[in-house]
Symmetry: C2
Subunit: 282 residues, 2 copies
């Protein structure tokens, strides 16, 4: 199900301007969120980040149109993975943006995969580094080819996903999620400056720490720090909190300890408060 320029399309083939800079230059951003029981979970946080990302790119979006896209898609399908793509719109040949951009809003609702929450995964250390010198490292832009390459290499090496280090050798993120690590009572995650998206679930996890006696710490991390951690997780809006079972050669047994259970419970409670559905039951 696709929403584009005010209309709903059941099929993905629709009248689209191929001069769109999202297509020609990757000049746009997107957001992926979880829709459960007719509610876009953490809607405000997602839409705020989308708006701020457009500002970082130097254009404004019509928030009312985005809200209408979300409402229309949810009315048609109450559970799903919602992707909102916003581009700078069509432009002439070349890099220079049009003086008065007319941003494109395209939203798509896809079915949720069965068993997507809290599912353990293994991480291959990518040969490609995350380029923290680029603003794109901190935005969910349409420039995803590094992630495509790294994810393919990870699968070929027998892993589920890839872990990016940045150009200084510090841990950045997975291809489609943030990294958080438990070390004693500290919950560690790389700072945004290390080339990291301000993930919605990352933000929620940092926020809930206090309520379960954990100390949230944003600091640069090395692979050794992850190896030494009690547990490592990938967070994103569709996986929520995925325990990492292996990072390269280092095996991480899925922790059964109380802090991990408490993290999962607290995050599930936050989701349930949003939409009335406890993700542990799905």
């Amino acid at each position: 199900m696709h929403w584009y320029d005010g209309a709903l399309y059941p099929d993905s083939k629709l009248p689209f301007d191929v001069a769109d800079r999202g297509l020609t230059l990757g000049d746009g951003v997107f957001d992926t969120s979880l829709v459960l029981a007719g509610t876009m979970v953490w809607r405000d946080a997602h839409l705020r980040r989308l708006r701020e990302s457009c500002t970082s790119l130097g254009f404004a979006i019509d928030v009312a149109a985005v809200e209408a896209a979300v409402d229309t898609l949810i009315a048609a399908q109450s559970d799903g993975a919602l992707r909102i793509t916003v581009t700078r719109g069509a432009g002439p040949r070349g890099l220079g943006p049009p003086p008065q951009p007319r941003p494109t809003i395209l939203a798509t609702m896809a079915p949720l995969r069965a068993k997507s929450f809290f599912v353990p995964l293994s991480l291959h250390v990518a040969a490609i580094r995350r380029n923290e010198t680029s603003p794109t490292a901190r935005l969910k832009t349409l420039n995803y080819l590094d992630a495509v390459f790294a994810s393919q290499a990870a699968r070929q090496a027998g892993f589920d996903d890839a872990l990016f280090l940045n150009t200084t050798g510090h841990v950045a993120c997975a291809t489609v999620g943030n990294i958080v690590a438990l070390h004693g009572i500290r919950l560690l995650t790389p700072p945004l400056a290390d080339g990291v998206l301000a993930g919605t679930v990352r933000g929620m996890v940092l926020e809930l720490c206090g309520s379960i006696g954990l100390d949230p710490v944003e600091q640069s991390l090395t692979l050794d720090d992850l190896a030494a951690a009690d547990a490592v997780f990938v967070t994103n809006s569709l996986k929520l909190l995925a325990p990492v079972t292996r990072i390269g050669d280092v095996t991480k047994p899925v922790s059964t300890d109380l802090r991990c259970a408490a993290l999962r419970a607290a995050l599930s409670t936050m989701v349930a408060k949003e939409c009335g559905v406890d993700p542990r039951t799905r």
Copy 2:
């Protein structure tokens, strides 16, 4: 004028699959070439690189379809800037490519700008580094947001274009062109490993050096090397050989010496041999 899926469209709004990974993930490559007097200049070199780029991304293209697109567009417009975009085609949600990709071919002919060949330009040193650890640094992919950001910053600082250094501090390229520098009888250009596209004009310039007594050398370059060079140029298919007049704080007077004139003449002769038009007359 646009060619898509076997048909010619005068307008850029056409029936397009918005699940195309070129749009959703930047999962594709493109090529820009010069069409003069009904000839795509260095056609074989351009199409070979396009084919090889797709191979690097892990999919094959229908070369006959690309050739048909080129022929159809040139028949409709004999002078122009031809852009051929190839994507991995439509795919389901997520990073994983479809097992049997059906690549998209989209080609567009835009008018040439008046005075685009050999026009001097100034270069702003970009804050964003070129990520030479990524294969995308050596391919003309749809991931052009770094170039969009850098180009915007350059314009705001009063320059024409941006110069990228790579993550080790070596010179990589301009946003849409390669860098070559004259130093005595040596013509220097960074090796591809430094995060550089194998530009068509770059290749031609390296090839013609012998005929005018220059020694082509691919080696890592620093900003100091460029400051010390007798002349610096940006090469691309539409600018051909653009003298660089300023790199950050360093002014480079446009050289009037014989080697520069010989370079320009030899490149113009190569273009004229392709299409019968000497670009110096345009």
